[in-house]
Symmetry: D2
Subunit: 337 residues, 4 copies
């Protein structure tokens, strides 16, 4: 970290900063410049905040240098984390494809989707039982009944299930039915929920917040990991920008960026990112080429009857085509489907 002193800072101010830093074990150096003096320090960033340096007289600003995340960092664990669930893997050589409807709507709809996903070659089934909706007047999900249907679909098809939990109560409920627990965009910084997820023994699929920096996203993973659960799957699903043609802006550069900073697997959701069916295929292909460990794709037996996200849901036929199209791209980056 570097503490930049104000031009008018006194020697006393400088020594006070230096003293506070050395007191907590930082290695410091005071550098007297022509216009300004800076105090450079190397140590555990996690304690910086508690020092209140920026509020001290004579201090202009504090520039952190080291990364704030530890357990999620590749510096702490070099080799990639590969997550195993019921024989399927995420983070390894196999491309993990998670497909299914935005929301579980009925037994028939879900089972049909599950078979279609499996036949096309996907090994993971997604379906929302608890739906965080922008409007209180929208369909909110089948809740426990939806979870039961997912468990049944898994029974029948052998698919690994992924479903969103939205609070400690729904998380506790999902533990009995679901293989991988999803924490959605709007809850990426719901720290209570992250801690509860950290205490569970299920892999956590953590979506990036709508306007979360990569650093905040990794800090959210750190919350889960700091409670003991090391099986976190990061999911890039688009960030909010000024562009309104697409629902969000898919930040694919986050894939190699996070892979450099962290050992955790990163998957991509082209459906929510674009909000447009026509863009799902090209963005899925791009995600695979960028090195993503997997895809999260919305697929519905009849998109025009979907209770949510119909416009971005693929039909079973379109999904099967997507699987065919990404095969050669996966091969080009050394992955299997």
């Amino acid at each position: 970290m570097v503490v930049v002193m104000q031009p008018q800072a006194t020697e006393e101010h400088i020594l006070d900063v230096d003293a506070r830093l050395t007191a907590v074990g930082f290695r410091t150096q005071v550098i007297y410049g022509v216009k300004r003096t800076v105090v450079a320090a190397v140590g555990d960033r996690r304690v910086i905040e508690s020092l209140g340096l920026e509020a001290l007289p004579g201090v202009e600003k504090v520039v952190p240098i080291m990364k704030p995340f530890k357990l999620a960092s590749r510096e702490v664990k070099e080799e990639n984390t590969v997550i195993q669930v019921k024989g399927a893997t995420i983070g390894g050589k196999e491309l993990a494809v998670i497909a299914g409807p935005c929301a579980v709507e009925s037994r028939e709809q879900l089972i049909e989707a599950a078979w279609a996903a499996r036949e096309a070659g996907a090994r993971f089934l997604r379906g929302g039982a608890f739906k965080p909706r922008t409007s209180p007047y929208s369909f909110q999900g089948m809740e426990e009944q939806g979870l039961k249907l997912l468990a049944e679909a898994s029974e029948l098809t052998g698919m690994v299930t992924v479903s969103e939990v939205i609070d400690e109560e729904s998380l506790a409920m999902a533990l009995d039915y679901i293989d991988i627990l999803q924490i959605g965009t709007r809850n990426m910084q719901n720290f209570r929920l992250l801690k509860a997820a950290g205490k569970s023994d299920k892999p956590i699929l953590l979506k990036r917040g709508l306007s979360a920096t990569v650093e905040e996203w990794l800090m959210a993973a750190e919350y889960v990991m700091s409670e003991g659960n090391q099986n976190v799957i990061l999911c890039e699903r688009g960030i909010r920008t000024f562009e309104s043609y697409t629902r969000n802006t898919l930040d694919l550069s986050a894939v190699p960026l996070v892979q450099g900073l962290s050992h955790l697997p990163v998957v991509v959701d082209p459906s929510h990112a674009t909000g447009k069916r026509d863009l799902v295929l090209p963005m899925a292909m791009a995600a695979v080429a960028a090195g993503a460990s997997g895809l999260l794709v919305e697929m519905h037996p009849d998109p025009s009857r979907a209770l949510c996200d119909g416009p971005q849901s693929l039909s079973p036929r379109e999904f099967a085509q997507l699987m065919e199209k990404i095969r050669p791209v996966a091969a080009a980056v050394g992955k299997t489907l």
Copy 2:
């Protein structure tokens, strides 16, 4: 709403859209253009989504026109909502000033802050007992003990208390101690929490999400109101942009904008918005001039020892100066302090 058909849409496609809309009570008109046909419809926007129009063959896009919020809308309730708590008001002629530390740290710190706030003329005391922190390694709050200290401070000073709740459990706990419940930026779309707040009988101070549009913000208020609690106070606290000199970008135009769209009071938090002590005063003055119903200001007996947000916290002396400075601005817009 307007449904724009693709150039190649057939008459059958057009009629299908028209039929689906009239079936749910929309008044429709098909307009045949040279290049394109559009189906215009007027009706309850809340049902649009369930029609899956965008997923229909021949449909290019759906452009909603009416606003999605109802209870929060000024069209439903013309006169301003004025919230009364222990003789203080928010939304009326009186400018509501809420001051106090980011986090409750100790009895001494809180009581000292409460007296300082009161002596300077504030009638509301803020203090966080449950702190959502980006890092799991940061101070997380005193929880129930903090709530008790707030209740005690209120007893002693007669200040109305405001404190953040982060889940249903902390909300239930806060009901016994706190006058106004705050729902923070990160929880603006924590819909479970919003519904629980809607079932309580305490006023809710709802902060705008870091990247929430005004419409999403009002829809969050709609969640609370649709459960029966009409006492919602909206708080603009800065949105996330590319500018990094300030912590966030304070969107003051949201104040008159929301006042036009809704009858709910809007207050402004210049401390979190800027993250810089020097900017708190000018932005507080600007907020009052823009017509805000109140201010939320971080003040700490000793900012350099604050366990959170020291850099943006005012000292008691600085806060007293702020109160003096905003008085004439409040007068200029017909408000009293």
Copy 3:
């Protein structure tokens, strides 16, 4: 377009709006809703603005529906535009790779870069002679001398040259030396320059503005085309967002999106988008998979001595590896290298 009337709008207000629209040849329909009346109209969006509808009494807002661009639109020209320069093509089956240094620094540096690019399989050479720099104290380019070196490099290697012009003067100068004229991010809405480019007979490579919407970007192309020059190549190079780990956020969804809206070719610049050498390769692969017509890649004989953009420039060896890596991805999307 739809004109939404205020709830209190009078019949007179409504008829005034209707009259103004029909007067300029729009087909209109007035739809009387329960809460509100809207006037829907279909016609040439280009004249809307001149009607001043939003400033009329009784009007709440005007919602445009049709796209504002014409010549750039796929509705006007269905088949892809394929640009031919000295036997090379952009927009067809062949993937166009444009490589070279950020700035032309010397004869030796440029010639070395040109041969390295050609040996690796690229057919286009880029190099800046006029450098728009954020700081007046940074290297501003070799200007005409740089253009001459590009022409010489083209002579020697047979590479097609691409170089940025920053005003009418530099454009006029470049006409004598350069094959494809680039208009940079900061000049995307320099309308004088766009018009001048539209009068030239050289293909124009038009970079997307730092915060330009896809619609504004296509309107900039419309400026060039409306002056007669139909050979516009669009270049996605990243947009500005809150994320600071990367220099910009590469918006790859813009590639298929623009391909749907327009017949113009779209190429991608992963170097400026990311600003980080390690991210150039994965983003180049992703761009090809997304269906881009080509790539713009910064390559320098000795990045650590580059006068600009060293951190994102590939060495000749790294560039050769990139060409090898993208070959199978190009094949997967039916393109040749």
Copy 4:
């Protein structure tokens, strides 16, 4: 500046960085941390870029610390710059109000606007003769004829004129007619134009770019000043964000922020920032309260007939009311009207 070395950086890498920095006169310190080594250096930031440090082996990143602007900085010139034009001042005790139509449309329209502005108490008249428009099909301005009308209006009313120039040619033309030259949002980084403006002897009103950081904005001012013209007026006019209810998001915190960083005056344009007539007044009042040195307000004799920006233009009556409303706010911050 701080150079953060990679964990695997060798002593040789570290010494190389150190050597390059000391070679150009930086004072350096190598700090060996447990996980990482950093090289801290204090010196002239303007040369950093030319060192190519980030491209060196062993270097993880370079963190600049000092500000890149000099002439615009308050560290170089402490007292506020007060600009005098024809007896009026900008940057002093007097609040500078610049009013007039978006575009000069006719002699009658302009003269009427000029008298209305003067009668309401404004001393500066704005009007566009060269209009940068998003669409090539929109009105592009009266050009030289418009400049002549502005000069005539100034003759008649004694108003100080402000008008936008868009390239070196229009700038040269404007020198004969206009008192203050405006450089618009889209040209904030048109460096050729900035340099030309720096060579003129007229004050330059420099609008902030649509997505320009405060630092980039001040660097643009630095371009003008580095050519000799120290009379730069900065104009905040809203930045681009995800919020679409308003045309842009007015960043009022930029006012006190820039006043802290620079000695140049800052004025605010609430008309372009909001794009909505109803928001102009409250944002004008907020701007004054925030400490702005002046306002730029669009006013048209008949907004519904305006050839551009009608929806955000005030009528003469509305403008007169605005002047009345801001008077007490100006008084509250010690300014006169």
